[in-house]
């Protein structure tokens, strides 16, 4: 192998490494963008007297909304809405 070929080979290896690194970086950015689209699970907290229950959030829910009646006739109200932390798929949690 001549020196010229050697230099050319090294240049190509360096170029390939740089291109691979940049592609991987871009792929990582795109992956982050995809992950961003994952929505957290949102929970609605309802209260009836001293009893507090939770359920999945439905569009239209807001804190203070009367969602029905309790057994004693008083309105059942939403007292809180919160998001649960997003868990990674690897952990196998049912998110």
């Amino acid at each position: 192998m001549s020196y010229f070929n050697l230099y050319l080979l090294m240049f190509l290896i360096a170029l390939l490494a740089a291109t691979t690194a940049m592609t991987m970086k871009q792929m990582s950015d795109l992956k982050k963008l995809q992950e961003m689209k994952r929505r957290p699970k949102i929970i609605t907290v309802e209260q009836c007297g001293s009893s507090i229950t939770t359920r999945d959030f439905r569009e239209g829910d807001y804190v203070g909304l009367a969602t029905g009646s309790c057994t004693d006739g008083t309105p059942k109200r939403i007292i809180g809405i919160y998001a649960l932390k997003e868990e990674g798929k690897k952990r196998g949690t049912p998110m």
């Binding site: 050697l6 949102i42 569009e59 807001y62 804190v63 203070g64 007292i79 809180g80 919160y82 998001a83």
Partner: protein, 372 residues
């Protein structure tokens, strides 16, 4: 022997090439050029992500506007995306608060009027959500344009230090942009965000049976009692996305209460606040002063009315990260709301007497938090 000699030659060649390359990079400034080339490529890659975030936000907002019967939604959004507010002159500070308040009120009213005209059949809450969505789209568009400006300007003027500074700031800018984009989805479905912690404390203290009345633009007040004290609770009018005018409303209700001969002995402001890195989200802390993050006009009203009537002004904060403040309220912050309610009650017990009137102000965006 021949193989060993050949290997030694190769190693020598490689080492020589590396030395020569290092000398060339160091003495010709080519090293800097390569570094900046890498930075530029990285910024460009992130800029394209920022562009797609801005486009996506625009598309989502347009879908929301169209779904809610907005007229000429694309033109409307284009007009609002580039809307700006010019700061008042500050080298002559006389009356700057009134001038700033005037400008901010005009801005709010313009946004409100535009959506009243464009969405005549939607309710106030839906219009306020549309307005917030337009603001988020505008913010993402602005971030994209600013980054593009500095990149192009750096390239045009060959200012490598400008490009390096931009590259260093890019991870933070990306985080902010991604948080804004996520926040848009949360606002559109009217989920309480972290910043709604203050209004949520207000609702908890007022109780489900409280009668709320609107005292000033987008701001409501309710009265209740707590262990012999009369509580006046102030919050923005929900469940739409607005922060209201808590300072103006508080000033008004305090003057009303004093005119009725009541003794206002305490003011407590409750708001979400940025935590330091390492602190736990949802931690509650208390202090003195007005807990509110506005540019000034509302905050100064708390301070002025408290000073005028010598009312102790106390602050309770619920700590959270910047992204947590604009994203759907996390469980930690929600738990913090409960703690803040207890802390406010403790302050009221310790610093007021039975028969006194105490004003509690839940400061923050009330998206997803109605009045009960």
């Amino acid at each position: 022997m021949a193989a060993e000699s050949a290997l030694a030659t190769w190693v020598t060649v490689v080492v020589n090439i590396l030395w020569i390359a290092l000398f060339i990079l160091f003495f010709t400034g080519l090293g800097n050029w390569l570094q900046v080339y890498w930075y530029r490529a990285d910024i460009r890659s992130k800029l394209s992500v920022l562009g797609s975030l801005a486009d996506d936000a625009r598309k989502t907002t347009l879908d929301f506007l169209n779904k809610n019967g907005a007229q000429d939604s694309a033109k409307l959004l284009d007009r609002l995306t580039d809307f700006f507010t010019i700061d008042p002159v500050n080298i002559e500070p006389t009356d700057i608060i009134n001038r700033m308040r005037h400008l901010l009120n005009i801005r709010d009213m313009r946004f409100k009027d535009v959506f009243v005209q464009a969405m005549p059949n939607a309710d106030d809450a839906m219009r306020s959500v549309a307005s917030t969505a337009a603001e988020i789209t505008s913010a993402l568009n602005l971030i994209y344009k600013v980054v593009r400006h500095y990149l192009l300007f750096g390239e045009k003027t060959k200012n490598i230090y400008l490009i390096i500074q931009l590259a260093v700031l890019m991870p933070q800018i990306m985080q902010i942009a991604q948080a804004y984009r996520k926040a848009l989805d949360d606002f559109l479905i009217k989920v309480p965000v972290g910043d709604a912690a203050g209004p949520m404390v207000a609702v908890r203290l007022a109780g489900p049976e409280a009668k709320w009345r609107e005292v000033t633009e987008d701001t409501v007040v309710a009265e209740t009692t707590f262990e012999g004290r009369n509580l006046i609770i102030v919050k923005a009018k929900g469940p739409g996305s607005t922060v209201g005018r808590p300072g103006e409303a508080t000033e008004k209700v305090i003057r009303e209460a004093l005119a009725q001969g009541r003794k206002v002995s305490l003011m407590v402001t409750v708001d979400a606040a940025l935590k330091f890195e390492g602190e736990t989200s949802g931690e509650v802390a208390e202090g003195v002063g007005a807990a509110i993050g506005d540019p000034g006009p509302e905050k100064i009203r708390f301070e002025r009315v408290a000073t005028e009537y010598n009312i102790p002004l106390r602050a309770v904060i619920i700590k959270m990260g910047m992204d947590e403040a604009i994203l759907a309220m996390k469980k930690d912050v929600y738990d913090g709301v409960e703690k803040a309610v207890e802390r406010v009650k403790q302050i009221i017990r310790e610093e007021s007497k039975e028969g006194d009137t105490v004003v509690v102000i839940g400061v923050g965006n009330t998206s997803g938090v109605g009045q009960g």
